[in-house]
Amino acid sequence: MNVQSPPEALKPNDYASDQEVRWCPGCGDYAIVKAVQKALANMGADPKNTVFVSGIGCAARFPYYMATYGFHTIHGRAPAVATGVKLANPGLDVWVIGGDGDMLSIGGNHTLHVLRRNIDVQVLLFNNEIYGLTKGQYSPTSKVGTRSPSTPAGSVDSPVSACVFALGCNARFVARSVDTNLKVLPGLMQEAKENTGASFVEILQNCIVYNDGVYSSFTDKANIADGQVVCEHGKPLLYGKDKEKGLRMTPGKMELEVVTIGENGVTEADILLHDETNRPLALMLASMQPPNFPVAMGVIFRDPGLSYDAAVYEQIAEVTEKSPAIPINELMHKGKTWTVV
């Protein structure tokens, strides 16, 4: 008798391919791949139905290290390729991986459209504020003044915020985290996956070779408490070692300010509660920058809606019900024909 034993639950390592990882030692990408593997294990993801699609860059090497289906495409185009994968087989779980150059520079247009269409994929943007693979030129997310081989005197153009961009594209799930935050990252991936529609996750990633420490002012252990605020729906936007600081709307103004509980008569009741369905609030939170503000982490915005792929197949079903397929021979005979004997 052929008794099938139930498949054993896969462990994070089972999602790792046999390929040697080729990132620089100490690169933040290592932590991210671990976090994703952990998330997949936690969710019990089926490798055969999981597809990672990436563009080009250090980040985009990602699919090679996963024991799932993977497509390493061309620079900037991963969202477009992923769109085709998902539309061809909506049953697949599709992840899009790319760097800040990949997704916001050469491929910015596709990122815009995958988000606004709300295609049911997870878009993970590894933001290291630099072009890693091409040896360290500044990127569209680099701060003004970034010195790089192509900007030896410092960059002069102002950067784009990945999350603000995503919100402007009408993304319905926008989150942010840090590469090394292994406590939070797998859970966030899971939330992204569980959201139907396009889920955008910006992962602040340290490029140890070309941009080491860009985020240390708020990601170094000592700086986390005062440098980051974690957004949780319905909870007050508090941060600081003793949760003594918080965000509130400046009275009479459409703007956020940092306040300290107990100072100037501020109480916890004054602190803004996070509403993840409020896009204007999300835009303000996503825009916050150090040193005057903490950096917003977690699910900044979530307001699920019908995904494009679901809508496409709903429409196909409707149309098919109204006028089902007929043989092509009949199709070609529809319309004005004449017979020659």
Binding site: P63, G84, A88, W338
Partner: protein, 621 residues
């Protein structure tokens, strides 16, 4: 008129062998619609026919200008014809600008029908005439029928509650009615079409039908100049079967669908609108129930990338565009070549470079198709010759793409996309199925395992247990399918990719001559839509005893395996193309033969007469 029999039928209609009519007017005058409806009736009458719509790029060019003129030419006959005709026997000019642009093409003694109502001083001036062409000798050598069509139309729809503007819009149908009377065409198909088209606007339908009938009645009752008679063009003798009038877009659409069904795949079509390729997106979008997913992408790059992603996932990815859009796709085509996924790129060529002449036809993307990518990036290229052939080529593109796991460039042309011809409806059962077998065997699997004979790699799609794998643009190891930076391996893989495509030559028909001998003094070699014109021109020369043959190439890459030998049997090789000499270069480089170019880059199809003259003169060189 081609060959006039000067006979009459029992109704006193003069019997014509063939006739070429050109409708010309302002782009707002509805000339394309008039031509299309006249074509439909003509097809239903059983004539063979060929059409040439020629319209400006501007949607609404300023009224009355020469560059706003839109024209539609139809050639119909009681025998087989292959081109829309060199020069019109009848020109319908709805305004002075149309006359100005098209009069030079009208055959001497040809019939000219003018809408007098549009010959106002202002319009005459706008058309660039110094004085009215009606009042000097400009029209002396033609048979001119002057009718105030505008006024007649207004009178005809007077009793219907439509605005003056709407009433005047019906003047193209009045004209159509008159032409239906003159050439004995049935008005019913047009009436049916109007009722359907304006189902929600019954008054508009009524006005148009009234105008159509009035134009017809005018012919029956009016005192037209005595030399204007009515004509009949008897049915063409064609193979028995069921026919319909089709354009190359329609047949391409059905061919792709037929091919996909024969392969057992669903179509994913990613496209971005561009003239003259958009109609294929429109047509396929109507086939949702047939397992066709269409996706209007944000740009050409996304269009091809989504199609490639769909192929990766197990659909038949197809994308379509015109030259500028295909240029944008080229990086992704390289990815398709290196990942060895099936993909079809339909290029409806138009006049380039850059934006060029978007609504004019050309064959100038052959280099782009065969060579236009970075790296050694070969892919099969096939080119359709007629609207009917578009169907077969589409099926063939699907067959090659799936059997050889390769992108296939399918060259179409703006001319084929828009031109209509009668088509004997095929039976899809006559096409041998070529079902795709996805990989399922896990033992020894890797993504670049190849079929020994075709060299195609196996196609394992996501969702298949145990075949999880990664592909991408980085070179892959021949033996494992993993990334490889090894130089010898790259050499080997490049050779294998090239060999796989060249091997297709053993899977396609040997090259035959269309007409003439298999060797001799001269062969005229063509490809694409020039087929009909070249065929007619060479036949005329042959009938005159000249030793000239015609070869038509459908497989641009790889070329037929016997083509080189065949060409070497001729003293002279003449290659007419609607470009500055592209196939000719390919033939010279492949076979080291002294092929000569005959280039025409006017955005217009070749005229049979011009070709014939050129063949004769080059034979004498």
């Amino acid at each position: 008129m081609a060959t006039q029999l000067k006979e009459t039928d029992e109704n006193g209609r003069e019997i014509l062998d063939s006739v070429v009519i050109r409708f010309a007017g302002d782009s707002g005058d509805g000339m394309q619609l008039t031509g299309t409806q006249f074509t439909q009736s003509t097809a239903l009458m059983g004539n063979d026919l060929s059409t040439f719509p020629d319209f400006p790029a501007e949607i609404r060019a300023p009224v009355g200008t020469t560059y706003g003129v839109s024209a539609f030419q139809i050639n119909f006959a009681s025998h087989a014809i292959k081109t829309p005709g060199d020069a019109p026997d009848v020109l319908v000019a709805m305004n002075p600008a149309a006359l100005k642009v098209h009069l030079k093409d009208l055959v001497p003694g040809g019939t000219l029908i003018l809408n007098l109502g549009a010959f106002t001083g202002r319009n005459i001036e706008k058309a660039g005439y110094k004085e009215s062409p009606l009042e000097n000798d400009t029209l002396d050598s033609y048979r001119v029928i002057e009718i105030d069509i505008s006024k007649m139309t207004l009178a005809a729809v007077d009793h219907i509650d439509v605005t003056q503007k709407e009433a005047l819009r019906a003047k193209n149908l009045w004209t159509l009615g008159l032409m239906c009377w003159m050439y004995d065409r049935d008005r019913q198909p047009t009436i049916d079409w109007l009722n359907q088209r304006f189902g929600k606007l019954p008054l508009i339908a009524e006005a148009n039908i009234a105008a159509l009938n009035a134009g017809h009645a005018f012919g029956e009752t009016a005192e037209l100049p005595s030399e204007i008679s009515t004509y009949v063009v008897p049915k063409a003798k064609v193979e028995p079967g069921i026919y319909r009038a089709v354009t190359g877009v329609e047949t391409t659409c059905w061919g792709l669908l037929t091919g996909a069904q024969k392969a057992g795949l669903n179509i994913f079509f990613g496209s971005y609108p561009i003239t003259p390729a958009s109609p294929l997106l429109h047509s396929l979008s109507n086939l949702k129930a047939h397992g066709v997913v269409t996706f209007q992408a944000e740009d050409e790059i996304s269009a091809v990338c989504s199609a490639l992603g769909a192929s990766f996932a197990g659909s038949l990815g197809i994308t379509s565009s015109s030259g500028p859009g295909v240029a944008l796709k080229s990086e992704a085509l390289g990815l398709a070549v290196v990942t060895e996924l099936p993909l079809i790129i339909v290029n409806f060529q138009r006049a380039g470079p850059s934006t060029g002449l978007p609504t004019k036809t050309e064959q100038s993307d052959l280099y782009q198709a065969v060579f236009g990518r970075n790296g050694d990036t070969p892919m099969p290229v096939i080119a359709a010759s007629t609207a009917s052939d578009c169907y077969d080529c589409a099926i063939e593109a699907v067959r090659l793409a799936t059997k050889y796991m390769t992108p296939v460039m399918y060259l179409n042309e703006g001319f084929l996309a828009n031109a209509a011809e009668p088509w004997k409806l095929p039976d899809t059962d006559d096409v041998e199925p070529f079902p795709v077998k996805f990989a399922s065997e896990t033992e020894g699997f890797h993504p670049y395992l190849r079929d020994e004979k075709t060299l195609a790699r196996n196609w394992a799609i996501p969702g298949t247990e145990g075949l999880e794998h990664r592909i991408g643009g980085i070179e892959k190891d021949y033996d494992s399918g993993n990334i490889s930076y090894d130089s010898d391996n790259h050499h080997k893989m490049t050779k294998v990719r090239a060999q796989k495509i060249l091997g297709i030559a053993d899977d396609i028909p040997e090259q035959e001559v269309v007409s003439g001998n298999n060797s001799g003094k001269m062969v005229v070699v063509g490809w694409g839509s020039t087929f009909g014109a070249i065929e007619q021109a060479t036949r005329r020369c042959q009938e005159d005893g000249l030793d000239v043959s015609h070869i038509h190439i459908r497989y641009i890459w790889p070329l037929a395996r016997n083509l080189g030998e065949l060409l070497k049997g001729f003293d002279k090789i003449l290659v007419p193309e609607m470009n500055n000499g592209q196939l000719v270069t390919l033939l010279r480089s492949e076979y080291l033969v002294p092929a000569e170019s005959l280039a025409q880059i006017t955005g217009q199809p070749f005229k049979v007469g011009d070709l014939e003259r050129e063949i004769r003169s080059r034979m004498e060189d």
